[in-house]
């Protein structure tokens, strides 16, 4: 049986983030955002430490499918050290990418997160991929 499309979705790099998540844990005095995906039961806690408009640290905990947890791992990895504005720009780019729209590949080195571009072929899974980014948007909003 051929699983070509699936390989787009579950690329090695995604499975690596799922199995070995980066930045899993808690930040003692950070902003905390709890988000659920009510249609499927995924739950995510994102904690952010923002100082002088810079995301100093980002950590997450939660339960979910490979796509939602890998996305959280990748998101925390890429936003660390970025300004709040840059983080929000990245959230926008990510959203465009997983919806299969044209997205900006110039401004940032997208690194691992581009591995999730295959999600656009699986409409039912887009919400899994964007959960962590929605938490980020909410978190920096609360911080501001």
């Amino acid at each position: 049986m051929s699983f070509n499309n699936l390989d787009m979705l579950y690329r090695q790099v995604i499975m690596d983030h799922y199995k070995n998540p980066r930045n899993r844990g808690v930040i003692e005095d950070g902003v905390t955002v709890d988000l659920n995906n009510p249609t499927c039961g995924d739950s995510l806690r994102l904690q952010l430490q923002v100082e002088d408009g810079i995301v100093k640290d980002a950590k997450f905990e939660g339960e979910g499918c490979s796509i939602s947890l890998a996305s959280a791992s990748m998101m925390t990895q890429i936003v660390k050290g970025k300004s709040v504005d840059e983080a929000l720009q990245l959230a926008d780019i990510f959203s465009q990418m997983v919806q299969g729209k044209d997205y900006d590949t110039e401004t940032f080195d997208l690194g691992d997160i581009e591995a999730l571009s295959g999600v656009s072929k699986f409409p039912a899974r887009i919400k899994c991929a964007t959960l962590a980014w929605k938490a980020l948007e909410k978190g920096v909003d609360e911080e501001a």
Partner: protein
């Protein structure tokens, strides 16, 4: 077993999904529709449609006959005493909310108790939670056996003189458990409580007899039993319905309207404000005809045979965990090793196999099972043994895929 030629009646089943013939194993969420139902709705709109209960003209009479004919059809289907005991609603959810808002608000007070089980669908849980909050009442939960059954002893343990309502699913949408409603209704009545039954998962699959069950209210949805979406049924005992206030107000449900006061029609109309779901009722009646022509005992036997075969085959796959009791209806809820149910459902979908994944609108039960998510394959009269084989092969492929990837 029901002959596979029945599939010719279901046009939607004859399609490819992701390059494979569709295997639809999600009928517990919503069933597919036979031509007889689709055509009954089409016929109604082509020849008989008008508003009901008001026009003096001929089409008004035809539409009214079709709508009231459907009510009588439902009455006979569940063996209610009279057609006035049948209220058409948007679905099970609306029906249960109606009971909680109308009967509940009038009969439950501070310190009273409502008995539920942890296996309830959110539709038979949240209306009671909200009622309890409004009235200062308490929810009491029947403890399930480790394999997910409700025993009479466990029900008795939570019943008290303060119990006003016992609300329970007839069949669990996750575990497939069949609850002994008749016996539980008896216990509820001994305490002076009413018995409310969520029959969303039983009406499509087994013969219902509300007089034998002796339940006070019973709710189900059309779309899970070959009928269209947007139509459901609330059955209520006549004596109870007659004392209940409407929860929606407007056209169709009034007797006399003045500038400052109005009075209501008799049952069932006082609970059907606005233009009713006429075409939906017509479709539901056609669905009932279809099910009864096949024989519900044959439908149930067919699904159970498929589920038993599926479970037997699934047990040969290492890492499969199945939830629910031995004795169950035609559905199987499970997990495959540490593959998340969503990932599993996506990989099955790529092989054309549709299963449900998630919490199945039963979050408290998921917590009891200590699972954030599970997959569910549910079987209906149009599924075949060959489809079960495809499903089993799909599970094996999924396992292989993730083992390779991990």
């Amino acid at each position: 077993m029901i002959d596979a030629s029945i599939r010719n009646q279901f046009p939607i089943l004859h399609q490819e999904v992701n390059g494979h013939p569709l295997v639809y194993l999600d009928s517990a969420a919503s069933s597919q529709k036979p031509l007889a139902v689709i055509e009954a709705i089409e016929e109604y709109y082509k020849h008989n449609h008008s508003n009901v209960h008001r026009g003096v003209h001929t089409l008004g009479t035809q539409a009214t006959d079709a709508y009231e004919g459907a009510r009588e059809r439902v009455r006979a289907f569940i063996n209610a005493t009279v057609a006035e005991e049948i209220i058409f609603t948007r679905g099970t959810t609306t029906a249960l909310n109606l009971v909680a808002s109308s009967y509940g608000d009038a009969n439950v007070g501070e310190g009273d108790e409502i008995v539920l089980t942890p296996m309830e669908h959110h539709a038979n849980l949240i209306p009671w939670q909200q009622l309890a909050k409004r009235k200062g009442a308490t929810l009491r939960y029947v403890e399930l056996t480790p394999d997910g059954r409700v025993t009479l002893e466990a029900v008795e343990a939570v019943l008290s003189d303060r119990t006003k309502i016992v609300a329970m699913s007839h069949v669990s949408n996750v575990l497939g458990t069949i609850n002994p409603i008749q016996e539980i209704a008896k216990l509820a009545h001994e305490k002076g409580a009413v018995m409310v039954v969520d029959a969303a998962q039983s009406a499509p699959h087994r013969k219902l007899d509300v007089q034998a069950l002796d339940c006070d209210f019973l709710a189900f949805s059309g779309h899970k039993m070959l009928g269209p979406t947007g139509i459901g049924v609330l059955y209520g005992k006549k004596a109870l319905l007659k004392q209940m206030e409407p929860v929606e107000f407007g056209g169709e449900m009034i007797d006399y309207v003045d500038l400052h006061e109005s009075t209501w029609k008799d049952i069932p109309y006082r609970f059907e404000a606005g233009t009713p779901i006429i075409a939906g009722a017509v479709g539901l009646a056609a669905a009932i005809d279809f099910l009864e022509d096949l024989g519900l005992e044959n439908v149930e036997a067919h699904e159970r045979a498929l589920a038993s075969y599926a479970i037997e085959q699934m047990k040969t796959i290492e890492g499969i965990e199945i939830y629910g009791p031995e004795e169950r209806v035609g559905l199987v809820t499970f997990n495959l090793g540490d593959v998340h149910a969503h990932d599993l459902a996506t990989v099955l979908d790529m092989q054309g196999i549709a299963v449900r994944a998630g919490h199945h609108c039963a979050q408290p039960l998921m917590r009891l099972l200590k699972q954030s998510s599970t997959a569910r394959a549910s079987f209906y009269l149009y599924n075949t043994k060959e489809e079960v084989d495809r499903f089993i092969e799909g599970l094996r492929q999924t396992k292989e895929y993730f083992n390779y990837e991990f």
